[in-house]
Symmetry: C2
Subunit: 473 residues, 2 copies
């Protein structure tokens, strides 16, 4: 597929999903909130302006980008279970202490430590060609000499299920789903190997889950089905997947040799919890968060360095400006998100008894490009309050409320218990160009966009943590 | 630099260069051409329509893309001196014979055969990180254990010249020029190693010559200075160059281990010359061309598969439509363009005595995206004739004449002798995203855009080959 076609499809998806998620008209919001609350929210204009001035023109200008840059350049990739991840956690704690914020705890948990070794695919028939790949998280290894097998190409699970076990047995299955949305397409990465193994395949490949590529493979997590053999699983580029599809469609036999090695063990890591205690209701929490671990490829600048640093900045800026909201602002740096929200699950379990104290939970893990608003889960009244708060951000066009029952990644583990929350809605049309690739670097980030995200994120958090009413459930 | 900044810079360059190259007002064209010639050119509307109908709606619809796809999928990369390049030349000859065009000759010449082996850069200080690279054409090897040395980063040759030899001696020089235009920036790839060696450097790296990247290194040719040591030369991605620049600017010491192996020998290859003999003046030539060799990375679909196939298509379509122009239409598939226009130099030398017979020479080697017009070298009257012909292509917005004294790559070798010629002007804003990378694949190409290019290229060629007047010198 040409990249123009790819772009058209992407634009279609963006507009289609925007349309789908456009916030329902909130005619009843005025009645639900009442004039007093509407007035109260409007009265935060001044504090919002103070935060914006400090971040966009004052001492914090470019600070989020500069700190992210130093952090990313120092540590690079921070895979789950690695020492560099633990070092980066220590660094963030130290950076926070330097801001005279000392309510910091870490909570230990067991995390997977999957380390990629040699990875190589050579097409042997119909001609010799090296095929770039990235093994998927937790993939098993091949024998040292690799697996040499014929390829069967399927568009989707339906096509796979229409094949007989004999058609698939002993073969390498390549899924080549055309990217529509991440949510829709990612199943071929997460479940591809399990479903192929059920049919007797010896390995599983997936067209990278992305709308655009410069021959870039995208890694990511996947899950085996314990009832079937665990087979090696990897992603290849859009270009190579399309090439194999074309050769396959011509009826030519494709034979690959595929070699993958890796190690897999358990390690200890930590969630990091930073509190700026509330002045009236310190037990009540407004949480902002991002994950500190990253994939082992790229530098984790976008996924989720940006989210980590805007969530770090929120309590720091409040502290610096002496803005102490009624409720506690808690900043959480999740660990081991990439291997399956491991940190978030551990936090949810550990803090389940106090979950009534979570007033609102926020996460930024889909880019920190120009902020557009929030993607919000909660009752109609909760959304009305957030929508009213978002009106304060019209001047930067960040007033959009997108409704979703499951915003974010880590926080979805908390939100599914009925706790209201939101993820950052931002101009992330190109997020999946870089996601889980070597291209996730500082070059994706912009100081101006990060400043806007930081100002927006901090002001929203402050207002929610300070208003007279709790966010209802 | 964020990719938004990169895009802004790119857009600026595109618009700036468009402005710079906008054709001079051709007030005197009418007088120079005379009413009769203007009428004659306008009378080609019908034949242009016939060609367009055949390519955009008729039997040739999608043919250029389909043939390019089969070719690229069958052969992949076709590096200078390789057997696969020779096989691909034989294939093109056979494909042409199947169209009952038999005036085909090949002309042998010696070409460089530089084959990349192991390539690896590991940053050792200030932290361990693998750095993707692509060795540059003709680069010498390192010792097997590699070169381990400190890095000095310079923006341009001026910065290098300001350093003392002691500052550079024994070090690896990294050039990190920000991409402005290819012509301006590529000198750091072509001359970087030679200039660094002059200062005593042990290796030379260059920030890939590109405006955008997903951690994509871009290879290309380079030339040593025979008076100084030949040192290993490679390109790294924009992302890694920026990372090294930032670390360097912080005053931290950067140490790299760089290992490169390759082989380099001479081989025989062939230019391919296909003639559709003219009915009145067969000795007079209107040449269309593209190069058949490619870099060893990617699939050479864009550089220059597209140009090769639109130039193949021009005589084929004329033959199929029984359109026999007055002059001979010659299609040339240049060999060994990538290592320094080797095929073009050989052709120019061999055919210098008959160069008076070249009426006009054309080349497509900068993408076959949506056609916009031609980039033309020649006298004012020559440009007036071409501008008048281009008016026939207003309906597809391909009427722009861009003036340049040196259009194209291979044909520049001929044009500098005062022979008029043109290269395809097309919507190639993203050309350098993919150029000389693993991303140069069929995914960059589009059937619709290729059809437009083929129709435009064939019609322009036919008209120039058939009009009553020669293109003046």
């Amino acid at each position: 597929m040409s990249f123009y076609t790819q772009i058209l499809i992407t634009l279609f998806i963006i507009f289609a999903s925007e349309a789908k998620f456009l916030p329902k008209k909130c005619n009843s919001c005025k009645a639900l909130l009442g004039d007093d609350l509407i007035k109260e929210i409007a009265s935060y204009e001044n504090v919002k302006n103070e935060i914006f001035k400090y971040v966009l023109e004052g001492d914090f200008k470019s600070k989020t980008y500069d700190e992210l840059e130093k952090f990313v350049d120092k540590f690079g990739a921070r895979p789950s279970g690695s020492q560099v991840l633990e070092d980066s956690i220590d660094y963030m704690i130290q950076l926070t202490r330097e801001e005279e914020i000392n309510d910091i705890v870490t909570e230990e948990l067991e995390v997977p430590h999957w380390i990629r070794g040699t990875e190589k695919i050579t097409m042997l028939e119909p001609r010799v060609k090296e095929i770039d790949l990235l093994g998927l998280g937790r993939s098993v290894t091949t024998p040292p000499e690799g697996i040499t097998a014929e390829v069967v190409v399927v568009k989707n699970f339906e096509e796979l299920s229409e094949l007989s076990n004999k058609d698939v047995d002993g073969k390498i299955v390549l899924y080549d789903p055309i990217f529509t949305s991440y949510g829709e397409t990612v199943v071929y990465r997460t479940q591809g190997a399990a479903r192929a193994a059920e049919k007797g395949a010896v390995a599983s490949l997936v067209r990278s889950i992305a709308p655009f590529s410069i021959n870039s493979p995208h890694t990511g997590s996947q899950t085996y089905n314990e009832n079937f053999e665990k087979i090696p699983a990897a992603a290849i580029s859009l270009e190579d997947a399309d090439l194999l599809r074309r050769i396959y469609n011509r009826g030519e036999k494709i034979v690959l040799n595929m070699t993958m090695s890796s190690t897999y063990e358990s390690k200890t890591s930590r969630n990091t919890i930073i509190d700026l205690k509330g002045r009236d209701n310190p037990e009540k929490l407004v949480i902002v968060s991002g994950h500190i671990d990253s994939w082992d490829v790229g530098q984790g600048a976008m996924d989720d360095g940006g989210g980590l640093f805007v969530s770090w900045a929120a309590p720091v800026i409040m502290k610096r400006l002496n803005l102490r909201p009624k409720r506690t602002v808690r900043s959480i740096f999740w660990t081991a998100e990439e291997l399956g929200l491991i940190g978030a699950y551990a936090y949810e379990e550990k803090h389940r008894n106090e979950s009534h104290n979570i007033n609102f939970i926020m996460e930024s893990d889909e880019g920190t490009f120009t902020p557009l608003g929030l993607i919000v889960a909660g009752t109609q009244k909760a959304r009305c309050i957030i929508a009213e708060i978002l009106k304060l951000f019209k001047s930067i066009n960040a007033s959009t409320l997108v409704e979703s029952d499951s915003p974010g990644s880590d926080i979805s583990v908390i939100i599914r218990n009925g706790i209201p929350g939101a993820s950052l809605h931002n101009a992330n049309e190109r997020y999946f160009w870089f996601h889980h690739t070597e291209g996730d670097t500082m070059n994706v980030e912009s100081p101006e966009e990060l400043d806007l995200c930081t100002a927006f994120w901090t002001a929203v958090t402050y207002i929610i943590a300070d208003i007279s009413v709790d966010i209802p459930r």
